[in-house]
């Protein structure tokens, strides 16, 4: 998805929150009263803030859903103008010009290796590849 659409969705939400017809007063529901001075958005909007660890629960590729047995942890890093989404345990990495693009690329790589290790016979593998075959075999429900 284009990043502009994501930003636009946040702007639309903000506009909806701000808009209130004349003669109406906002009720307190959109604010939390305990320690009002503490605003989670301040935490998120800090200049260096980044949520570089996220999780995948389902991978949807070509109209097929792959439900994970355990959530797949994804680390996202930004380097030299590119995003890298990786999972060390699965020895897989995706790249892209946005976080979402990198994660989508990672999803495709995970399915690719899942199918690859499922098909390949055990006697053709050794070392790390044997471990990966066992990990990928238990990846999805």
């Amino acid at each position: 998805m284009n990043l502009a659409y994501v930003n636009e969705s946040y702007d639309s939400l903000k506009e909806c929150e701000i808009y209130l017809p004349n003669n109406f007063q906002r009720m307190a529901i959109n604010r939390i009263e305990t320690a009002e001075s503490i605003a989670p958005l301040d935490f998120i909007e800090k200049p260096m803030r980044s949520f570089n660890n996220t999780f995948l629960f389902v991978i949807r590729i070509d109209n097929q859903n792959y439900k994970t047995k355990m959530p797949i942890s994804v680390n996202v890093n930004f380097e030299s103008g590119m995003f890298f989404a990786e999972n060390e345990n699965l020895a897989v990495c995706g790249t892209g010009f946005s976080q979402e693009e990198a994660i989508n690329d990672l999803r495709e790589h995970i399915i690719h290796f899942y199918e690859y290790y499922n098909k390949i016979e055990i006697d053709k593998l050794m070392g790390e590849a044997l471990r990966l075959k066992s990990v990928y075999a238990k990846l999805f429900v």
Binding site: V6, E33, A35, I38, F55, I72, E100
Partner: protein
């Protein structure tokens, strides 16, 4: 006995009491500070904001490592924790700090409000441009058939009544400067009316019981796996 998760999404926990404004608190913050400054040496004063009475904005006293802070103004006192090690540890510090407050000012016996707030931040990756809300939270929004119940963006706040208190829940996605995204899950269990300082322990216990129960039911089994560290 509730399960204690090793990797909760919690970023801050706050317990606050509110009472009728008492000017002597405003005038004697130094006495309180002297009693806590060994543990809470950092002092932060509120900034003036347009339309907000500065006397109602809390002074903050913070630990050197910023793990805990105390907020104090003439009508409220709160303890905030950024490194939560379980409810019992948090409660112990609340009771210790609030006892120092009581010992210092000796003027507050009746409270207007108590609130226990848990702020959680849940990072997420979009799936085909949509927020995978139901992977993390057990929320089903019934919509007409023509509107798919999956969202590009969503903000929900609601207040529910729960055994002598109100629980306010706010669920709101947010975007960081580097465009990574997270869901803010903010709970606030409040008791209002005529409350008593001497019963604070009972109020915080009760607030925790309801908030924990609510949280346990709201988060999905998949997300509990993350909190337990059961991930690949």
């Amino acid at each position: 006995m509730h399960e204690i998760y090793p990797k909760p999404p919690l970023i801050e926990t706050i317990f606050e009491i509110k009472f009728s404004g008492e000017p002597s608190i405003d005038c004697q913050k130094d006495k309180f500070f002297n009693k806590i400054r060994k543990d809470y040496p950092k002092l932060m004063v509120p900034r003036a904001k347009e339309g907000v009475a500065i006397a109602l904005e809390p002074y903050l006293f913070e630990k050197e490592d910023a793990s805990y802070s105390i907020g104090l103004s003439l009508n409220k006192l709160f303890l905030s924790c950024k490194k939560y090690q379980g409810f019992q540890v948090f409660k112990k510090e609340v009771l210790r700090v609030f006892a120092i407050f009581d010992d210092t000012f000796k003027v507050i016996s009746v409270l207007n409000r108590t609130g226990l707030r848990y702020i959680n931040i849940i990072p997420f990756a979009r799936e085909k441009g949509l927020i995978p809300l139901t992977s993390f939270l057990n929320i089903n929004i019934a919509l007409p058939k023509s509107i798919p119940p999956v969202f590009k963006n969503i903000g929900i706040s609601f207040v529910s009544q729960k055994d002598g208190g109100n629980i306010t829940t706010r669920i709101e996605p947010a975007i960081a400067p580097d465009k990574s995204e997270a869901i803010i899950l903010d709970f606030d269990y409040a008791k209002e009316g005529q409350l008593f300082f001497q019963s604070i322990e009972q109020y915080i216990e009760e607030s925790h019981k309801h908030t924990k129960h609510f949280f346990e039911e709201l988060v999905t089994e998949d997300f509990k796996k993350i909190m337990r560290g059961e991930v690949i």
